[in-house]
């Protein structure tokens, strides 16, 4: 799927900066990786980070209990929006990305607003219809402006070419990778923090049982809108990064298959933690792409994998129960370590609950 989405891996380089060199050299330290291998890795890792962002966008929405087949729309809006920013308005990449995010987030908010009363199934289909309408609209959009060397801008079916901000500013692929990873890292940290706070837990509760959550007094609609807006923004970041990486986007790239894949990554990887979607992406791109054997059978395996895993683990591989038991075990280990360090300290109730330390008094 990565070669469908991203075209052939780009080899264009600007000036190798010191950072770029550092990245390449550190990658070459990995076993079996030479210079060509390093380039390949840079590309694959960039792919993974971009896809992870759109997978995370599906994930956030799934947390709130909504299945969406339309995330590709916000990806497209982010792509077009940020491209318009850098190419037609002459903005810097960060500003353009923010603009793209705003486009995606606003659209997702709008859709969630009007589909509030819909049940899960009808919402899923509505999101698909909405995304297709957006795709068709983008494929008819013409806004060409003369910028020095000829007309640039969205040209309807022919797409949007010459999104060259990265090249014009000598950003090497390695540096771009760092940008992607930084953004992904920030999003992950932000999401994990969010899930620890009340608002994140409330969103998860809604996803589990909407009726029960409402009976507890949670503002279901408002939380759903929040999750939707967030998901739109996330997909839009991915779109913006993608557009500048490949320098060319057209509306046909944002077809339902992209959204379906994003959904698949989130569902397969697991809904227990924000790392889940990353696992899904890594499984698809990393394993299946790397092993050329399964080239023509990738979807057969991937699709079958999802169906089978969902049968036995409806919340994905890294589901809530796994995350919880891992956290408990981690706390247990930390508790033991603490006791090893200061064995005569009185155990507080927290660690005495999970740690079994010989010779200590258990508080009941």
């Amino acid at each position: 799927m990565s070669d469908r989405v991203f075209g052939s891996s780009s080899a264009a380089t600007g000036m190798d900066g010191a950072i770029a060199k550092a990245v390449r050299q550190s990658l070459c330290h990995l076993p079996g990786v030479d210079d060509a291998g390093a380039s390949y890795l840079v590309n694959v890792l960039s792919d993974i980070s971009i896809l992870s962002l759109i997978a995370l966008s599906s994930y956030v929405l799934l947390l709130s209990g909504r299945v969406s087949f339309g995330q590709q729309a916000y990806f497209g809006l982010g792509a077009y929006g940020s491209a318009v920013g850098t190419v037609l308005f002459g903005w810097s990449l960060p500003l353009a990305l923010v603009f793209g995010i705003a486009c995606g987030a606003f659209c997702a908010y709008f859709l969630a607003l009007i589909t509030r009363p819909l049940s899960g199934l009808y919402f899923a289909v509505a999101s698909l219809a909405f995304a297709e309408m957006l795709r068709l609209a983008l494929s008819s959009w013409h806004w060409q402006v003369d910028r020095g060397g000829g007309p640039v801008g969205p040209a309807g079916l022919e797409g949007f070419r010459s999104i060259r901000w990265l090249y014009e500013n000598n950003v090497a692929p390695e540096v771009f990778l760092l940008i992607c990873l930084a953004l992904l890292g920030a999003v992950l940290i932000g999401q994990m923090l969010l899930e620890r706070r009340r608002i994140g837990m409330s969103i998860r509760m809604i996803g589990y049982d909407e009726v029960l959550a409402a009976a507890q007094g949670l503002p279901v609609d408002r939380l759903r809108l929040f999750a939707a807006t967030l998901s739109g923004g996330l997909a839009a970041i991915a779109g913006g990064l993608y557009a500048h990486r490949t320098t060319y986007v057209e509306a046909s790239l944002f077809d339902p298959m992209l959204g379906v894949h994003a959904l698949g990554y989130a569902l397969l990887g697991g809904l227990g933690t924000a790392l889940g979607p990353l696992l899904g992406v890594a499984l698809d791109l990393g394993l299946l792409d790397a092993s050329r054997l399964v080239d023509g059978w990738r979807m057969v395996i991937f699709g079958g994998l999802i169906a089978i895993i969902l049968r036995v683990r409806p919340r994905g591989l890294l589901d809530e129960s796994l995350v919880n038991s891992t956290q408990r075990r981690a706390r247990h280990i930390v508790g033991r370590l603490r006791c090893l360090i200061s064995p005569h300290r009185d155990l507080d109730a927290q660690s005495s609950r999970d740690a079994i330390v010989p010779g200590s008094i258990r508080k009941s």
Binding site: I114, P117, G120, A129, F302
Partner: protein, 319 residues
């Protein structure tokens, strides 16, 4: 004026065919309470099998049709067991809690939805592996035979194969409708759609029933696909998605689960497409269809969905 009639007739003819596509999807929804997203892919893989067999030599169209129908049924069995049948009991402990859960849409339904689209991807890839070219020949009806009707000084042109399939669709839909309303099996099917647990108490073997119905509906979708592709004379890699979208739209426009609804929905879809094409061209036509679907979902079905799927209005709950 004449163009309007010609366009409308074309729309109605297409609409009847869309209704048949939607029928399989709609009916499987009402018995399973879950949407089968692999619907188009099942038909596509079966059609590809038919095309592949046709490639091998001079095979009669009837045989190809039977192959497509049979293969579709088999694939349907696979999909049903993997995605929609009772969940596997992994730990050996009996899952009693899910049996008495109420009838609204819940987590497991969305999971079944999700796994059916995973299978959609899988089946589509299998088809493409079989015939890698984007466009493949499919045994075709005679495309030149037309029916000419004089009207208002001009002649209405109707392709005979299209017209025949449309009429056949309407007949098939009517027969199925009668069966559902009138027969013992139809009664059992409607009872299952109304209330699964109570149906168990009537002595209906609900699980076996659903499996059989799913296989039959898959075979029906194979038959539908055969007819459509025989008109077109070719099958492309986009066919699975196309069939799902047309069926989904037709079914949802008229209301999921209703035979008359899918008939209405199909006709609305056909007419909208025909007129939108005239006014807005190819892209506009696609857009109009999605817009129609979207509006129907958010305006009409939004209300119907709220009534049926939720057991009480959450706004009534005090905050």
């Amino acid at each position: 004026m004449f163009e309007w009639i010609q366009t409308s007739i074309d729309g109605i003819v297409d609409g009847a065919i869309y209704a048949l596509i939607g029928l399989g999807l709609s009916l499987s929804y009402s018995s399973l309470r879950r949407l089968n997203l692999a619907y188009g892919a099942i038909a596509m893989l079966a059609a590809y099998c038919g095309a592949w067999v046709a490639f091998q030599g001079e095979i009669s169209m009837v045989l190809i049709a039977l192959i497509v129908i049979g293969v579709a049924g088999l694939i349907g069995l696979y999909v049903e067991q993997l995605c929609f049948a009772k969940p596997l009991q992994v730990s050996g402990r009996i899952d009693n809690a899910s049996v008495t859960a109420d009838a609204g849409i819940d987590q497991r339904d969305l999971v079944a939805l999700a796994s059916s689209f995973a299978i959609w991807m899988q089946l589509e890839q299998l088809a493409i592996n079989m015939l890698p070219r984007h466009m493949n020949a499919f045994p075709a009806f005679d495309a030149d035979a037309t029916v000419l009707l004089p009207l208002m000084g001009e002649q209405l042109i109707l392709r005979l194969d299209r017209l025949t399939v449309a009429v056949l669709s309407i007949m098939l839909i009517t027969v199925i409708h009668r069966l559902i309303k009138g027969s013992r099996v139809g009664l059992a099917w409607r009872a299952i759609a109304e209330h699964r647990m109570a149906s168990h108490l009537m002595g209906i073997s609900v699980d076996r029933f659903q499996t059989v119905i799913f296989i039959l509906l898959s075979s029906l979708s194979g038959f539908t696909a055969f007819l459509i592709l025989a008109i077109e004379g070719q099958v492309t890699a986009m066919f699975g998605m196309w069939m799902l979208l047309k069926g989904l739209t037709a079914a949802m426009l008229g209301g999921l689960g209703s035979v008359l609804g899918v008939m209405t929905g199909g006709l609305m879809l056909g007419l909208t497409e025909a007129w939108a094409q005239v006014f807005f061209g190819a892209i506009g036509r696609e857009f109009a269809v999605y817009a129609l679907l979207f509006l129907t979902l958010t305006l009409r079905s939004g209300l119907a969905a709220r009534r049926k799927e939720q057991h009480f209005d959450r706004r009534v709950v005090p905050r």
